[in-house]
Amino acid sequence: MKSEKIVKEPLIHITKRDTMPPWQSILIRVGAVLIALAVSAVLVIVLTKTNPMSVFDAMFKGSFGSVRKMQNLMKSVATLLCISLAITPAFKMKFWNIGAEGQVLMGALAAAAVMRTMGRYVIPSWVVILVMLAAALVSGLIWAVIPAIFKALWNTNETLFTLMMNYVAMQIIQIFIAIWIKSGSGVVGYINEQSHRGWLPDLFGVKYLLNIIVVAGLTVFMFVYLKFSKHGYEISVVGESENTARYIGINVKKVVIRTMAISGALCGLAGFLLVAGADHTINKDLAGGMGFTAIMVSWLAKFNPFIMVGASFMLVFLDRGASNVATMCKLNDSVGEIITAIIIFFIIGCEFFIRYKINFRARTPKEKAPDEPEKPEQTEITEGEKAPAGIA
């Protein structure tokens, strides 16, 4: 392609990079985050018409303003991180499980059902908690394994399947609530409010501390599992290339089903933590869309559990901060979602510059002014097409 004989070489030519020095790729990612933050800051200031300093002040107060706010921040970070860790093995395998929301909800529903049923009897709380945990893990697992089996058997599109499973899960919760709550209010209050049976205890008097410890342990476990275990190795090979995996004797179907089972069970764990350790109730918005946000966290962190800690913290912090700014200005608090999305757009966009290299056409004296009428972004493939035509 670099040959001088080609009459017209494309203006821009994209090639895949082999590797990039780590510092360079980190620099690109950090740059993207900074640009995204700058864009979000400008957006918030324009929308709310307040001065930047008070915006930053309000953002900070939205997350750290009071003990209660800090506890809620940590609770959300722990939940989001837990779901992100749960879906990571499946994602690394390139199994596009976007059904985490449903798997979390099924886990939460099972935990809540056990909590309600066993709460009527005088049973030690730790027994209830253990049964809840087991029920949550199993239902999350079942909810994830169903699409995996169909994928393994008939190559059913897992993205669409798991997406639909989310809404089935939400509806099942609605059905159970309708059966449980005869008054028709559709609201399950605190379960076992008096006896606290099945509630995770506050360690050292700190709310949600047990959730945080469990998720911290899970982070380390997932790092080791993906990086140093045989399972982790099989997952990466299947993710890179199914043909290679088959060639070296990995049973791809088995790996797919097993990985989804683990993924689903851990989503169930997140549901258990929400019911037993945080909210002590059940409704269809319990996961609050975090099953979807977790996908973005896992992707942003490039499947590295430790980077996920920072990524989930950043997203939760920004979401809360921006909502606080909007509420302060008596505007709608959805501005947090907008900012989350902007940051994700920038980070997934910057991946391109890490994976691909842009080669501009070398300027030679005989070359005329560029006569391509179209915009360069849209033409990297179009232009490539013209080159062979030039030879012919």
Partner: protein, 327 residues
């Protein structure tokens, strides 16, 4: 009898936004782009129409009917076009992951819809919290003059605003385009195997861009129908609900065929409101009926994949970015 007609009319009304979303998504998916941002695009289509309509209706003393329709229509199309362009730029040009981009786009779109829906009145310096555009809503809901005089037939066929008929026209045109025109066949080739299409001289990038943008604009009209016709020019936050995902379900249910999407959307619209019309249901039975659309979709998805009939399967390269050096 009148009750059955009532149910059918309600099903059609519920089905129209779904049909717009499904037709748009079919065209998008035929290019191999699985745009999970459709729910967000439909929110943006709705709110852009509202913003355009709000500025015109509230800022001019005597609004003209034609402009009351044209301004929201164009601003809605513009809004959804920008969203679809963003998706195309990220997934086609920058080759980022389609699932992640789509989900982020939905978060973005729903956020934009709710933010402006909840804040527009205050930002424009008006009073009161909620948006209600009576005149614009009335213009969009205008029926044919003889509809009332035809009794139940008139109610069944002529009692809708013009956007309802447009949805069916667009679906029929999309079917014609995909099956009978050279460009439609090229588009399907791109979705099945972009490398082969590229080798055959089809401009893959251009097709992906155009299909996603046109599909997005069609889907956005679904949001516009919802806010202007169904809710009469009023905006409620999260009022559109999860209908965008239901539209994606219809794409599967209709096995990627726009003509089948017309009855499918009506059926799903019917299932969405069926529980209201069946007397004597307990609330859990109602919720069970509301589960049907999703379960039916899953059954169809599995059956289609198990039977492996080529013409019923999803586009082969659905969800994959195309990079020509990577064949």
């Amino acid at each position: 009898m009148t009750k059955i007609i009532d149910i059918i009319v309600a099903a059609i009304i519920q089905g129209i936004p779904l049909l717009y979303g499904a037709t748009g998504e079919i065209i998008t998916e035929k290019s191999g782009n699985l745009n999970l941002g459709i729910p967000g695009i439909m929110y943006v289509g709705g709110i852009s129409g509202i913003i355009g309509g709000y500025i015109y209706e509230k800022m001019t003393p005597n609004p003209v009917t034609v402009l009351l329709i044209l301004i929201p229509l164009l601003s809605s199309l513009l809004g959804s076009l920008l969203m679809a362009l963003l998706y195309s730029f990220l997934t086609v040009t920058l080759k980022s992951n389609q699932n992640v981009t789509g989900l982020a786009l939905t978060t973005f779109g729903v956020g934009i819809g709710n933010f402006f829906g909840g804040s527009l009145v205050k930002m424009m310096g008006g009073t009161g919290g909620s948006i209600a555009l009576q005149q614009t809503g009335k213009a969009f809901r205008a029926q044919l003059p003889f509809a009332k005089s035809l009794g139940s037939v008139g109610k069944l066929f002529f009692s809708y605003g013009f956007l309802a008929y447009l949805a069916i026209v667009i679906a029929v045109l999309a079917a014609f385009f995909l099956n009978k025109t050279r460009m439609g066949l090229n588009l399907k080739a791109v979705g099945e195997n972009p490398a082969t299409a590229d080798a055959a001289g089809i401009n893959v990038t251009k097709y992906k861009y155009f299909a996603t943008c046109i599909g997005g604009m069609i889907a956005g009209l679904g949001g516009l129908y919802w806010v202007m016709d169904y809710t009469d020019g009023a905006w409620t936050n999260n009022g559109f609900g999860d209908r965008g995902w239901l539209a994606i379900a219809i794409v599967i249910f209709a096995i990627w065929k726009p003509l089948l999407a017309i009855p499918s959307a009506t059926l799903f619209g019917g299932l969405y409101i069926l529980s209201i019309y069946i007397p004597g249901l307990t609330s859990w039975q109602k919720e069970l009926i509301n589960t049907l659309p999703y379960v039916v979709t899953i059954v169809v998805l599995c059956t289609v994949s198990a039977r492996k009939k080529k013409e019923n399967l999803p586009p082969a390269s659905l969800g994959l970015s195309y990079f020509r050096e990577e064949r």
